[in-house]
């Protein structure tokens, strides 16, 4: 796992080394072990390396001189062993044991289509000297990040936005439309970001830059085609567990030890159990605990650890910890957040890093693929109710959904009907499942300043989202429509980025996700919806498939959504403590007036409410976190040139060699794959 950067010019002018070096320096946290650059003529590639596979041979940028190719690559191609064999069969000769070299030969053999053969998580750039062509690609589900900026006839790309913003010619401005999207969907819709002129390569897409022309195209799409054959539940469950075992096995390919996150939920308990069946090596696992019982899952974590016998370590996250690390969290996430839930994961990756781990397996993705989320259940109940809006007992099911939201429990039917969009006319809306969430989130815009409102006028409604839906969407069962929205928006735009890659890589830790193997995703998309959620039993098939692997108490437990203290992290309930200094500063009327995004008097009301301890609603919690994180974005990236990683410099993992700076100031070429075969 690593950080990548690059500059390519459409004209024949030479690429300047200095800006590339500065870009690379901002990504030191992603790759503390080595740094390399290759600058030749009108192209420059840079790489910050976290060595995981073939530490001795896998230096980057890497060349395939016979084919005139150079690569900078972040991620893993888990099936590189098999691809390597196949390519050797076709006459390719390899000089290293790395997956990076396999990509170079796969590109030589199959061109752009090589990525369709990859099983993995990647963001990569290949420079094809002979055709003077830059090829960028991002994995199917959006696990690894990749951003780019067009500056006249130059194209810049990088793993993180901060690397682009330090380039002297890249403007540093907020994109109001991107901000409006975050305050609707929780994330921007790629290619848009919250920064003007900076674009995100969407998951499952390639980009080709040649002669100053840019072309972005999709190579993979999540398609729901429920299987109508007479396959039995047992057959489905057997196939599922076999596939997951294989997906987990591939994700243990590493030349450094692999640990695991164990939350106490079904998904990570299952992936942990599958790891243990694959290897005899003792397994280290990590988790977060909270002081507040409403967030804490220690009991289930203990049950899972006792049953599986892992060597476990937990980190306790207090509300105060969240306030303390939140500024760093936003600097890594590079987009506004509406919840603080990424913050504990920032602390967790620090624990994994300090324990000597560079790689962890997690259960992320199971809820999307196998139907675990409350939003799916909620949509099912709402649909059921909306078909008979006067039914007295149908809505009672809603109260069963949110036992952890006491405020909701007290509501009358009439209010619930209004809050949950239970109107027959909504039934045909393609976005039915997500209307309550997005409407609630959109209400936060009441804090927008007049200027921001004016700049986003005409952006109301969900037209930008509707335009991204595939043609087949309308024909899918409602349950699959909800899964698609969740898997293509919230998963890459928030869970895998703000809560995933960015929090892990902040401490040089790579996440691996057995549930996000594309074969698992494609298999899940064929499972009939009734087996994903049977009645209101979420993840029915996955639970059934897990029975022989996961302790019964964990299989049967009520699902608890992962949440963390929000406002309490910034406004301590105790009178003797005051909010962290940066919170007071960034939410002060003077600062808000200067930045011009939010109404100072509105934020002042909200701050008063929070100081009194009266912020209780989801909406107010989200508003405060959203405004504060946006202000942090302005502070870190607009008001100031983003700093290099020095402000949160981290040491390389204990077992790693001393970081080496190779090639940068030494020679034009960096690592030459033609060096003697190891």
């Amino acid at each position: 796992m690593c950080g990548i950067v690059g500059i390519a010019r459409g004209d024949r002018a030479l690429v300047d080394r200095q800006p590339l070096r500065r870009m690379l320096a901002t990504l030191a946290h992603r790759g503390p072990d080595e740094r390399g650059m290759h600058v030749e003529g009108s192209v420059g590639l840079g790489h910050a390396r976290l060595s995981i596979i073939d530490p001795a041979g896998g230096h980057q940028p890497m060349a395939h001189p016979q084919a005139g190719l150079w690569i900078t690559f972040n991620g893993e191609i888990f099936n590189y062993v098999e691809l390597r064999e196949e390519l050797i069969g076709k006459g390719h000769r390899f000089r290293t044991r790395s997956d990076t070299e396999v990509i170079l030969h796969a590109y030589e053999e199959w061109g752009n289509a090589c990525v369709e053969r990859f099983n993995g998580q990647w963001a990569l750039g290949v420079w094809d000297e002979r055709r003077r062509r830059l090829f960028l690609s991002r994995d199917r589900l959006g696990i690894r990040p990749l951003f780019y900026a067009r500056l006249g006839n130059r194209l810049l790309f990088a793993s993180e936005i901060k690397a682009l913003l330090v380039h002297p010619d890249v403007p540093r401005r907020i994109d109001p439309v991107g901000l409006n999207q975050v305050f609707t969907y929780w994330s921007t819709l790629p290619p848009r970001t919250v920064f003007e002129g900076i674009e995100e390569l969407p998951p499952g897409h390639n980009l080709v830059w040649q002669d100053g022309q840019l072309e972005v195209g999709r190579y993979w799409q999540l398609q729901f085609e429920p299987d109508t054959s007479a396959k039995t539940e047992t057959q489905w469950a057997d196939e599922l567990i076999e596939l997951l075992s294989d997906s987990t096995r591939l994700r243990l390919r590493s030349d450094v030890p692999v640990g695991a996150y164990l939350s106490g939920g079904l998904d990570s308990t299952l992936t942990t159990a599958l790891i243990q069946r694959t290897t005899d090596a003792p397994l280290r696992t990590f988790s977060i605990t909270f002081e507040q019982p409403e967030f804490d899952e220690s009991d289930y974590q203990r049950q899972a650890v006792d049953a599986l016998g892992t060597d476990h370590e937990a980190i306790r996250c207090t509300a105060r910890d969240i306030g303390d690390v939140f500024a760093a969290v936003v600097r890594h996430a590079e987009r506004p957040l509406l919840r603080t839930a990424p913050a504990p994961l920032f602390l967790l990756s620090e624990l994994a890093h300090d324990s000597g781990f560079k790689v962890v397996v997690t259960g992320e993705g199971a809820d999307e693929m196998f139907g675990g989320y409350n939003i799916f259940k909620e949509a099912k109940v709402r649909r059921f109710w909306a078909q008979r809006p006067d039914s007295a007992w149908r809505p009672l099911l809603l109260k069963k959904l949110y036992p952890y939201l006491p405020n909701l429990q007290a509501q009358s039917l009439a209010y619930q009907k209004a809050f949950f969009h239970v109107r027959p006319e909504d039934l045909t809306d393609p976005l039915f499942s997500h209307l309550p969430r997005w409407e609630m989130t959109s209400r936060l815009k009441t804090f927008f300043s007049e200027e921001l409102r004016a700049a986003t006028a005409g952006q109301n409604g969900y037209a930008d989202c509707l335009s991204t839906l595939p043609n087949e969407f309308a024909d899918w069962p409602p349950f699959c429509q909800a899964q698609y929205l969740e898997s293509t928006m919230f998963l890459p735009g928030y869970l895998l980025s703000s809560q995933g890659d960015r929090m892990a890589m902040a401490h040089s830790v790579e996440g691996r996700y057995p549930f996000l193997d594309h074969r698992v995703a494609e298999f899940a998309a064929r499972i009939p919806p009734r087996l994903k959620m049977k009645g209101l039993h979420e993840k029915y098939l996955l639970k059934r498939a897990s029975r022989d692997y996961v302790p019964e108490s964990v299989v049967r437990r009520t699902k608890q959504p992962y949440r963390a203290p929000d406002v309490a992290g910034f406004f301590p309930p105790s009178r003797d403590q005051s909010p962290p200094e940066y919170v007071q500063e960034l939410l002060s009327p003077e600062q808000l007036r200067q930045d011009g995004l939010f109404r100072p008097e509105a934020v002042a009301s909200l701050v008063r409410k929070a100081s009194r301890g009266d912020v209780v609603s989801q909406r107010d919690n989200m508003a405060l976190v959203g405004i504060l994180s946006t202000q942090l974005i302005v502070e870190h990236f607009i008001r100031h040139q983003p700093s290099s990683a020095s402000s949160d410099q981290i040491e390389p993992p204990p077992q790693a060699a001393v970081p080496r700076l190779v090639g940068d100031d030494v020679a034009e070429e960096t690592y030459d794959a033609t060096s003697p075969v190891r």
């Binding site: 007290a410 509501q411 209004a418 809050f419 409407e439 009441t446 409410k609 209780v616 609603s617 989801q618």
Partner: protein, 86 residues
């Protein structure tokens, strides 16, 4: 009752509109304006119970009683009358 109306508007302005001038009439529906969410209803009820010394039962938490300024005013009047005559 104009004091009650003013106090209610002030409460809504501070807590739900966050300072924005309330640009709605006393008959406009809070739900239709998107002014109030599920927790907001409870915040409103807490406020009414504290300022008007009434106790509001669970089955009274319906839009008929609480969904506009005028509805609340009427509802509070009825509650207070009931309390006096009891």
């Amino acid at each position: 009752m104009s004091n009650t109306v003013d106090a209610l508007r002030a409460f809504i302005q501070e807590n739900f509109l966050f300072g924005r001038e309330p640009d709605f009439s006393d008959d406009d529906s809070f739900l239709e304006m998107g002014l109030i969410d599920s927790t907001g209803v409870l915040e409103l009820v807490g406020h009414l119970e504290t300022t008007h010394g009434v106790t509001i039962e669970d089955d009274e938490l319906v839009p008929e009683n609480l969904d506009s300024i005028n509805r609340i005013v009427r509802f509070i009047e009825l509650k207070q009358q009931a309390a006096t005559s009891a």
